[in-house]
Each structure stands twice: as structure tokens, then as C-alpha cells.
């Protein structure tokens, strides 16, 4: 009897496995079609111009060339733009974390006059779209003659209402007893903040850092209007420039190589922080 039962169970298991494999195959096929344009872009970047003139719609890189890529990788300008992006986004992220976590600590832990009204003022910033502020900020930088500098790309957005909100919420959840013990030992608020609060907040701070970095790296409108000379372009704006210069007719393959090149750093970044990004979405959107 038992052997019959075990056999039945095994058969059902096998059937289940077969169904699952079929399901995954169907999903894989769909994902393949969904990503076809990306595959085509990559393949096109390895095809020579004459072949592209003859037939654009091909997924077979034959004849094959690395000429497009050697041009892109040999372009000091593109590397400079990547460098600008790395510098701007890193500085922006570090500055935002510093400035916003300090403010958040005060809102989470200190009891002070005007606290409520100040916190409401900060939260009100969540309702202010970029469009409501960017023209005066543009004029401010113009008056200070700071356009076409990396500083102009770094400064706006450092004081983020969202970051203060997120960090305040998190800091409030840290048990008070930990601080009280340190306070007994005569530690200052700054020491408590640096040695107790920050180390305990690494998950939320990493999540915030990743999304701030991504957001700044991908920001479009502000660098587009502020950076108008090629030396200070970020890679995102630089790609817009060269794709407009090259258009749809000449340098098709080179254009595609430039697109892949632009996406590459952030894809690498994504695979390094993949787990934290996927789980961080829930943290950052306040769903969890």
C-alpha cells in the first residue's frame, strides 16, 4: 500500500515539475520578446555601417565588427561624461545623507520649540513638484554664474523632504534605552548620533543612498538646462547630444554602442546592489 501511495505522490510531483518547467519556459519566451529591442540594440552595435544600410532588422551580427565599440571606448569625451556622472551623483548622495540624517535625528529624538511647525514645513516639500521651483533656481545659478559647473548639478535636491521623512520614521523606531545608557556616560548628542543611531540605521541608509544615487544619475531636465557646455555634461545628457548629432542615418551602430555604453555603469551598479534595490523599493515607497 505504502509503495503505491509513494508512487502516486512521486508521479504527482513529476507532473507538477513538468508543469512548472513549461510555465517557466512560457515566461522566458515572453521575457525574451519583451527584451528583444535591447538584444537588437546590442547586436546592432556590433554590425558594420554598410550592413546596417542594407538591412537593419537582423539579430545576427554577421558581418561582425568591433569598430563602433572601439570608437566609443576610445572617446575620451564619453569617459569624461561618465566621470562627471560618477562625481556628481556620489557627492550629491553623500551630501544628502549627511544633511538629511542630521535633521532627521533632531525631529526623531529632540524635544524643541517649533518642532511641529518645522516638521510640517519639511513634509510640505513632498507636495512640491520640481516644476514649481526649478526656474527661480535656474535664475539663481545664472546670477551667481554657476551654470556649467558640477556644483550646479550637485546642489539642488540635497535637502530632500522625502529623505528626512524616511529617516525620521526609522530613527523613531530605534529603542530609546540604547541612547539613555550612553547619555548616562555623558555622551553628547552628536556622539550618540554617530555611534548609536547611524550604525543601527545602515539598512535604511543604504536603501536611501542607492535610490538617491540612481535618481541623480538619471536626472534629466535639470542637467539639460544647467549644463550646456560639453565639459560638464553628465553621460545621460551627453548621449542625447551625440544621438542628435549622429541622427538616424549615419553612425547607426555607433549610436547603439553609445546607448549600451551609457546604460552599462548603472547596470553594473544594479547587479552589485540587486538584492538591496529589490527590497529597498518597498522601504522607499513606504509600503512596508
Amino acid at each position: 500500500m505504502t509503495s503505491v501511495g509513494a508512487k502516486l505522490k512521486r508521479e504527482r510531483q513529476q507532473q507538477e515539475n513538468r508543469r512548472n518547467r513549461l510555465y517557466v519556459a512560457a515566461v522566458a519566451l515572453f521575457a525574451f520578446i519583451w527584451m528583444l529591442p535591447v538584444l537588437w540594440t546590442v547586436v546592432t552595435s556590433f554590425r558594420p555601417e554598410p550592413a546596417l544600410q542594407r538591412n537593419l532588422a537582423s539579430l545576427i551580427p554577421h558581418p561582425f565588427t568591433t569598430e563602433n565599440w572601439s570608437f566609443i571606448l576610445g572617446s575620451s569625451q564619453l569617459w569624461k561624461w561618465v566621470g562627471n556622472s560618477v562625481f556628481v551623483s556620489t557627492t550629491h548622495t553623500l551630501a544628502q545623507l549627511t544633511v538629511c540624517s542630521l535633521a532627521a535625528y533632531a525631529f526623531a529624538r529632540l524635544d524643541f520649540y517649533f518642532k511641529r511647525i518645522l516638521y510640517v514645513l519639511v513634509l510640505a516639500g513632498l507636495m512640491v513638484p520640481f516644476e514649481a521651483t526649478f526656474l527661480p533656481v535656474y535664475l539663481l545659478f545664472a546670477n551667481l554664474d554657476l551654470h556649467n559647473t558640477l556644483i550646479a548639478l550637485i546642489l539642488p535636491g540635497i535637502a530632500s523632504s522625502f529623505a528626512v521623512f524616511l529617516l525620521t520614521q526609522f530613527f523613531r523606531g530605534i529603542p530609546l534605552e540604547l541612547e539613555e545608557a550612553a547619555m548616562m556616560d555623558g555622551a553628547s548628542r552628536m556622539r550618540i548620533f554617530l555611534t548609536i543611531i547611524l550604525p543601527l540605521s545602515t539598512p535604511v541608509i543604504t536603501a536611501l543612498a542607492i535610490f538617491t544615487f540612481l535618481g541623480n544619475w538619471n536626472s534629466y531636465l535639470w542637467p539639460l538646462i544647467s549644463a550646456t557646455t560639453t565639459e560638464v555634461y553628465t553621460i545621460v545628457i551627453g548621449l542625447r547630444k551625440i544621438s542628435q548629432a549622429w541622427g538616424f542615418v549615419d553612425f547607426y551602430g555607433r549610436n547603439m554602442a553609445a546607448a549600451v555604453f551609457t546604460a552599462m555603469p548603472i547596470i553594473i551598479f544594479f547587479f552589485i546592489f540587486q538584492r538591496r534595490i529589490i527590497s529597498g523599493i518597498a522601504i522607499n515607497s513606504g509600503i512596508k
Binding site: P129, P136, L221, A282
Partner: protein, 326 residues
């Protein structure tokens, strides 16, 4: 071996500030004599100060300046500035047909991108199964979302390019069909930009729904099975109600994000053909940086700000019982 200690790093950091002791010590003695709440107020203000300065310069002041500038005829080089009261708004609301068209176009984009939420739900349901190896597809569908709009726009404008220089038309050409003027015909271009937005951002909705699905207790499904509920009934009465919160959240974000569509339009169509894909933000951008009319562009920004504010308030009230109201 290097031992890492936060404590020690902070000690050495504080050590650097010891040079200020002659000033700090007398102050500290004074500070300690103050009432505790005043003490904390001083400390708190020092903690908030760096944020406060930047927040004032880049958020608070610009809002007031935006209103101020919108009441002027103001050219970007700052030579021709004149107070004209509400004339900018009068012109915008009554006579500026281009602005009206941009407004309608933006509403159309909002409507056409709402389905992103439902496609995201579909993807989430598709991938929410305990099968080995399915996690990789979450990554694949989410990946476009973190790529810059320039890359996304470049790829899709080449896929949909109107002549034989686009993937689809080149493909059709082999069979003697086409070409389809995807980006040269207003309605088609609108659909193409909307589809590109879907492809780009659907992964975000998917992940939010996946998180939501995982929050629904398995016990509910088990109980339903015991009661003899079939899959459809389970979906209808457990899954759908369980996803209300992520759904509300995505609705709010999606409407606001679509209202601000700019990058896709700038990269793919530059507002064309014949201004057919020109959105409000693109209109502001053109008015200000092509025609240098900051005053007029700012008036548009004020209207947009007001509309967005009204939308968010309506949404917050509508979704209040989903726990997003606070």
C-alpha cells in the same frame, strides 16, 4: 589585521575639534545652566541648520519666487522685467491655444499610462509563484526602470523610426509592407511615447504589487480552500482586497509622474509632430529656454503646481481609508 570601530573613528573625529575647546568650554558651562527645553532647542536647530539652509534656498524661497516671477514680463537675460499683474495667466487661460493643446496632451498621457498599473499587476501575478528560477524574471522586467530616459528613448525611437531606418519598418520592408509613420503622425506618436513609458516603468509597479502579494497572509488562502472557494473566488475576495494599498499608492504616483512627462518626449519626438506630443513641462521648457520668456513659462509652472496640488489632495482624500492619508 585592521579592526574597524565606529567608536574609535568618532573619537578621532572629535579629537580634531579639540582646538576649539577654549571657545566651546565657556559656552558649554553656560549651555548647561539653561532650561532643558531651550538646551534641546539649540541642539536641534544646530542639527537642522545645514538642511534648513539648503531647503530654504532650493525649495521654500523658489516657490515664492515662482509666484512673484509669474506676475512679470520677464526675459531670461534679466534686461526686460516689468510687472504686469495677472496678464500672463489671462493670456494662458483664455488665448494660448498651444498651452491648451499641451494641457490636453498631458491629460491624454496620464490616461494612456494608467494601464501601466494593471500591466504591472499582471506581471506580478505571473511571477508570484514558488517556482525555482522565477526570480530572474523579476530582475529582467525591473531592469529598464533604472536605465536613463535617454537610453530608453534612443532605443525605442530607433525601433519605431518612421522610415526604413527603424527596426519595425525595416522588418516590414522585407515583405514589401509599410512604412508606418509611427513618429510622424500625432496619434501614433502619442501611443509610441506611452508604450515606451510602459516598457520603461512597468517593473516598478510589478515590484510594488509583488511586495503587496507577499504581505497577504497565506492563512487566508488556506481558510478559503477549506471553505471550498475556487481560485477565481480566492482572487476576487482575498487577492484584490489585499492589494488595495499598493494600488492606491501606485495610482497617486502614476498620475503625478505622467503629469510631469518630459524626458521621453524630448528624446523621442521633441514635442512633434506639429506639437502633437508637446506636454506641459515640454511647453514650459520651450517657452523658457527657446523663447526666453521666463515670466510666461513660470506662469505655466504655477498652473501646473496648482493642478498637481489639487490632484494630490483629491487622491489623498479618496484613498484615506487605505492608510496613505497620513
Amino acid at each position: 589585521m585592521i579592526s574597524f570601530s565606529v567608536e574609535r573613528m568618532v573619537d578621532s573625529l572629535f579629537g580634531l575639534f579639540e582646538v576649539f575647546n577654549p571657545i566651546v568650554e565657556p559656552y558649554r558651562r553656560f549651555h548647561e545652566k539653561l532650561p532643558p527645553k531651550i538646551q534641546q532647542t539649540i541642539t536641534a536647530f544646530l542639527f537642522i541648520l545645514p538642511f534648513g539652509i539648503l531647503y530654504a534656498i532650493f525649495t521654500i524661497l523658489p516657490i515664492f519666487q515662482t509666484f512673484y516671477i509669474s506676475l512679470h514680463k520677464w526675459e531670461i537675460m534679466g534686461t526686460n522685467i516689468r510687472y504686469i499683474g495677472l496678464k500672463n495667466f489671462e493670456r494662458l487661460l483664455t488665448r494660448d491655444t498651444q498651452f491648451h493643446q499641451a494641457f490636453e496632451q498631458t491629460i491624454l498621457f496620464v490616461a494612456l499610462t494608467i494601464p501601466i498599473i494593471f500591466v504591472g499587476l499582471f506581471f506580478a501575478l505571473m511571477l508570484n509563484r514558488p517556482i525555482r528560477g522565477i526570480g530572474i524574471f523579476r530582475t529582467i522586467f525591473y531592469l529598464p526602470n533604472i536605465i536613463a530616459v535617454t537610453v530608453i528613448g534612443l532605443i525605442w525611437s530607433r525601433v519605431f523610426a518612421s522610415s526604413g531606418r527603424g527596426l519595425i519598418n525595416a522588418f516590414l520592408e522585407q515583405f514589401g509592407a509599410g512604412p508606418i509613420p509611427f513618429l510622424d503622425q500625432g496619434d501614433l506618436a502619442t501611443l509610441v511615447v506611452s508604450f515606451t513609458t510602459l516598457w520603461w516603468t512597468v517593473g516598478f509597479s510589478m515590484l510594488i504589487f509583488l511586495a503587496g502579494l507577499q504581505d497577504i497572509s497565506q492563512a487566508l488562502y488556506d481558510a478559503a480552500k477549506v471553505d471550498g472557494a475556487n481560485r477565481r473566488q480566492q482572487f476576487r475576495h482575498i487577492t484584490i482586497p489585499g492589494l488595495r494599498r499598493p494600488f492606491a499608492f501606485l495610482c497617486i504616483l502614476q498620475v503625478i509622474a505622467s503629469f510631469q512627462i518630459f524626458g521621453q518626449v524630448d528624446v523621442m519626438t521633441r514635442g512633434g509632430p506639429a506639437g502633437n506630443t508637446r506636454t506641459i513641462v515640454y511647453n514650459i521648457f520651450e517657452t523658457t529656454f527657446l523663447y526666453f520668456q521666463v515670466g510666461y513659462g513660470t506662469a505655466m509652472a504655477v498652473i501646473m503646481f496648482a493642478v498637481l496640488l489639487v490632484i494630490s489632495i483629491i487622491q489623498l482624500i479618496a484613498f484615506r481609508d487605505q492608510g496613505l492619508g497620513n
